[in-house]
Subunit: 118 residues, 2 copies
Amino acid sequence: MAEFRDPPPYFQAHVFVCCNRRPDGHPRGSCAARGSEKLRDYMKVRAKELGLKGVRINQAGCLDRCEFGPTLVIYPEGIWYQPETPADVDEILTAHLAEGGRVPRLMLTEKDVPPPKR
Amino acid sequence: MAEFRDPPPYFQAHVFVCCNRRPDGHPRGSCAARGSEKLRDYMKVRAKELGLKGVRINQAGCLDRCEFGPTLVIYPEGIWYQPETPADVDEILTAHLAEGGRVPRLMLTEKDVPPPKR
């Protein structure tokens, strides 16, 4: 399946922070109710302060991993994180986005959540 | 840089439709002002109708390619599209998401927009 040549990535890393908000008391909860909007704002500011190039931080609608919120996903690698504090966000910015590593203690893995049915 | 093994992708294809809205008359315009919210709603409904598995359609904040809006990006492949009509969305759903191909006439390419400075 490669009769086409894809253009190079527009962003080196594209981060989507779930900012879905459900009503108070909803059984699944939501990332915004768990503070994701402040983490998104913090991440945008810090990414700029760190001078990260080719990195875009966006908010997104419900990423459907609500039980683990606040959640974010980084593409193209498709790595999911569950940051709870600004310090967690700093660690993702530095270790993953700046240095190309991972932050295993904050990652959602297969073990945490099996992939959805195909 | 591979002292870690990344978990398998949680979604086979993760689509982000820019739904950023700027005030009327803003010089850059915005995807929502160009109808992206209706296209997002349509895409969600049609993806379900088509029974696409492992595909998630999300809205996102400003993807920063406003001049080409409405825009969407599909990860992990990082392909950008500029759908203008429900028929365009159908073509992306069928040719790209269901069949793994591309829809060149709707794609943003290097030629259209040079990559951002790193």
